[in-house]
Structures are given as C-alpha cells and as structure tokens.
C-alpha cells in the first residue's frame, strides 16, 4: 500500500560549506523543487529538520527564514529535532500527513553545519553531540557519542565474537562506495590496516570507524499517492515506522538490540506488507562502523550476531547479496546531522529510479532507510519501492 510518493529530490555535496544555513538549504530545496517540476504554490507545508543550529550557530526558528529564502514565506512550517534522526522524523510526519489527506504536496528537508566552519572545534562539537545523551545520568561521566556506540559495540563483540577487523570492513566498504558518489564527503578508498592503524577515539572505534563532521542539506518533495501520478518519476513510500526506547543506557534491557530500530522495522514492514528478505538494499545509520553492524541485524538483513561476519565476507558490498549503504553511508558520504535522514531518502529514490550513476545497484525494486537518534532511542525506518 502506497502511503505517499517522493516526486523530487535535491541534495548538496556533503563536506565543508561556508554558506549560511538558509542558502545551503536553499540549494537542496530548489533542486528538489526543480527535479519534481512542482509549482511552489502547490506546496502546502514545510517539514523541516535541523538538530543543533542553536548550539553551533546561535540560529533557531529557521523554518520561516528558510521558507523565505526559497520563495515560500507564508507557508505552514514546523521544525523537528530528534538528534541524528531529525529529518527522518520530519519525513515520517510528512508521509503521515499526505497519507491522511492533511496535505497533498509537502517539502521535507534538513540542513546542518558541523565542520569548523561554524567556529566550533572537535572538543566543542563533542560536547554538543553529547547533549543527545542523558544530561543528568550520562553527560557527567564524560561519555561521548563515539563512546555511546562503543559501549553498545563492545557488548556485541563480547556476546557474538564480532571483531575490530569486521568493523573495519564496514569502513572499507563504505569508503569504496563513496568513491562512486560525487556528493560524498570522502572520495578515497581505505584499507582494513589503515582503519586499524588510525588513532583510537573510543575503543573499539578508531578515527576511521567514525563518520566525519559534515555540512550539507537534503530535500525531497512528498505527495499523496494520487497526486503522484501527475509527476514524472514518483517513487512510493510504502511503510514508515518510528519508535523510541528507554534513556539512559542503564535502563535498557539489551543494549545492543537497538530495540527502537526493531520496533520501527516491524511497523514499516507491516505497513509495506513486506519482509527483510524482499528488501533489495538499505541505507543505514553508520555513524560508527559498529552502528552499521547493529543496524544490519535490527532491520533483519542478518541474524543477531551474523552482522560482523557478513560485513567481512563482503555480503553488504554493492555487489554483495545484501547491499548496505551504496551511497557510502554516513561514514563516507558524510553526516550533517539534520540532513542525514532525508539524504537517505534521496539515495533510495535515485537507486529505485535507476539514476544512481556509478553507484547504481542492479535494478532494485525496494529499499529501506534506517536513521537513528541518540543511542538509537529514536529510530525511523522507511521502506520505498518502485511505483507499481
């Protein structure tokens, strides 16, 4: 069952940008509008994601400012913030709105600047990212975001025998995929040895296990199923699930299950009337290599504990049987927080249209996006399909 359709996509390169947030977002949004061929007057509402503009740039209340920049002043608009799941949550709310008939056509997008262009260095950004962990029960320990996923991954390694080498294979694969993506932050290959030789950030994660700080923007035009027919290349959204989980970490039953991802996946598969087996590829939230392993299990691509060996065996490569992150993922494509969720929708759309250029997979018909926030306590899962 089609819940909504994506009829236009736009995205800046991810990397280092010195433009203000409104202009950076404007590039992606105008590209999405042009790609769809939508008349601005036909856009009913603006679902916007930005995670940390207040902290990094003293810039809030951005929705009306961005709308003005792209000629949509006056439009209904709302800004979402759900840590790294920010713009996927905007997307989920937009899909629900057009599915329920609240709107016919909406603009969904996100923007973020995380590089030193904001004036903030690694220590300050590490502190800002830590704001997504529990203020009272986690931040005072000095826990960082690499540290959060390190805790989950170390327990996964203990329980299943996942190795640092397997983690490194995730980075190697995603860097390779990034070389085929002209919008990727990193366009160079790496090796298992280079990953393992890079300095430790939070063990078991080396620097090369971590996604970069990136600047960038992504936008999509979402319409209702019936309106979609009037557009050239609609791609259908057949399921969107979202769930939260317990915070802080000490309250979770099984820390590496990333239970919200499992709950959201179950919802999305049920809506789409599909199963993991029938999903051809996925874009998952590989903020750290270990996060991709956990995600590959949570979305049902592999049994629990098989994620590490599968990565090492090349099963998640673009030419493997379970491709994950053909875009390069957060690791190589980059991770401008509030833009990441929608950038996954852009990648799914381009792959399903057959428009993905050098990184095009072999005729996929169904893709999944997995975007998480915080310690995965917010996770959004979206299933997109070639229009039937």
């Amino acid at each position: 069952m089609t819940r909504a359709s994506v009829v236009g996509v736009g995205m800046t390169t991810f990397g280092v940008h010195d433009q203000p947030l409104p202009e950076l977002f404007g590039q992606a949004a105008l590209d999405a509008i042009d790609d769809a061929g939508v008349m601005p007057g036909d856009i009913d509402s603006f679902y916007f994601g930005n995670a940390m503009g207040g902290q990094t740039e003293n810039d809030t209340h951005l929705a009306p400012t961005l709308a003005t920049e792209i000629g949509l002043a006056g439009i209904e608009a709302q800004r979402f913030e759900d840590a790294c799941a920010t713009s996927a949550n905007a997307f989920k709310n937009a899909v629900e709105a057009v599915d329920a008939g609240i709107h016919d056509t909406v603009l969904v997008g996100g923007v973020e600047r995380c590089t030193p262009e904001t004036g903030k260095g690694t220590g300050a950004m590490t502190e800002i990212f830590a704001s997504a962990s529990h203020r009272q029960y986690e931040q005072p320990t000095g826990l960082t975001f690499p540290g959060v996923f390190a805790l989950l991954t170390k327990r996964h390694m203990h329980d299943y025998g996942t190795t640092e080498r397997q983690l490194a294979h995730v980075a190697v694969k995603n860097h390779y995929n990034g070389t085929n993506n002209p919008r990727a932050h990193f366009g160079t290959e790496t090796t298992v040895e280079a990953v393992l030789d890079s300095p430790i950030v939070a063990d078991p994660f080396h620097l090369m296990d971590c996604c970069p700080f990136s600047d960038g923007a992504a936008a999509v035009i979402v319409t209702s199923d019936d309106v979609a027919d009037s557009y050239d290349e609609p791609v259908d959204v057949t399921g969107v699930g979202q769930a939260t989980g317990r915070v802080p970490l000490g309250l979770k039953s099984d820390i590496h299950a990333t239970q919200p991802a499992r709950d959201a996946t179950a919802t999305a598969y049920e809506q789409a009337d599909t199963t993991a087996e029938a999903v051809d590829f996925a874009e998952v939230h590989d903020c750290f290599t270990g996060a991709e392993i956990l995600a590959s299990e949570a979305i049902g691509f592999f049994e629990d504990g098989d994620g590490g060996p599968a990565a090492e065996a090349g099963r998640t490569a673009a030419d493997g049987d379970r491709p994950i992150n053909p875009s390069g993922g957060l690791k190589a494509k980059g991770h401008p927080i509030g833009a990441t969720g929608v950038s996954q929708i852009v990648e799914l759309t381009e792959q399903l249209r057959g428009d993905a250029g050098a990184r095009q997979l072999d005729d996929p018909t169904r893709g999944l996006a997995h975007n998480l926030g915080g310690d995965a306590a917010t996770t959004v899962i979206s299933v997109l399909e070639v229009r039937g």
Partner: protein, 124 residues
C-alpha cells in the same frame, strides 16, 4: 507515596558518597537511576534504596577524545549491580577494565566542567 526519589536525591547522595537506586514498590525491580514511573510495570514512585556496592562491568570503553572541559583518556562503562545498571566512570590502577570484571563503588566523581557528579567505580 513516599518522598519522591528524584535527581536531587540521587545526586545529593552521590555527593555524600552514597549510591542510591530506585526500587519499584510494585514489581520490586531496582533501577540504577531515578525515574518517575517504573519502566517495567508503570507503577508511580520508586523508593530510594542503597545499591550493591560491588558488581561487574557490563560494557566499557576508553574515551580518548573527550568533550571540552574533560581530561582524557578515561574509562566509562555500564556497571551491573545485582539487577540494576548505571553508567559510571571506571578507574583501574593498571590494565584496562574488561566486560565481566568486578568493580567496587568508589564515591562520586566531579570531573565535569559544571561540577556535576558521576558515579565512580574501581576495578577490583
């Protein structure tokens, strides 16, 4: 309902060198930190209860790149104290704490730039 067990009670105890958890008065589960409603059974109001002072490392990481205001490297882990878990600093005289290692509560640590206290454990 007894006096609410909240952050103020938890952190004040920690500053005095006491480690309190919250015990659900309905399902009797103990949690490492306060919460207004029991996550397991939805009962309101956990009662403060002293946590076991020794336990094991459930998971741990060595933070080499700390946030502004913290001095690294240091170890942060989740410690398991009977059925309760919480996030804590772990210190080791030598070697590295590993999952399954025994640890003992060693008071509150004020390492954060704003002076907020965190539980500190030492590797046995």
């Amino acid at each position: 309902m007894t006096d609410a067990f909240n952050y103020d009670a938890w952190t004040s105890a920690l500053e005095r060198g006491e480690l309190l958890g919250g015990r659900c008065q309905s399902c009797e589960t103990t949690f490492g930190t306060p919460v207004m409603v029991c996550p397991d059974c939805s009962h309101r109001g956990l009662a403060p209860t002293p946590l076991a002072e020794t336990g094991t490392v459930h998971t741990v990481t060595r933070i080499e790149v700390p946030p502004t205001g913290f001095e690294g490297p240091f170890f942060v882990g989740i410690v398991e104290l009977e059925d309760a878990r919480l996030t804590a600093r772990i210190e080791a005289d030598d070697g590295e704490p590993e999952i399954g290692d025994s640890v003992t509560f060693a008071g509150g640590l004020s390492a954060a730039p704003d002076g907020r206290v965190a539980p500190l454990f030492r590797l046995d």
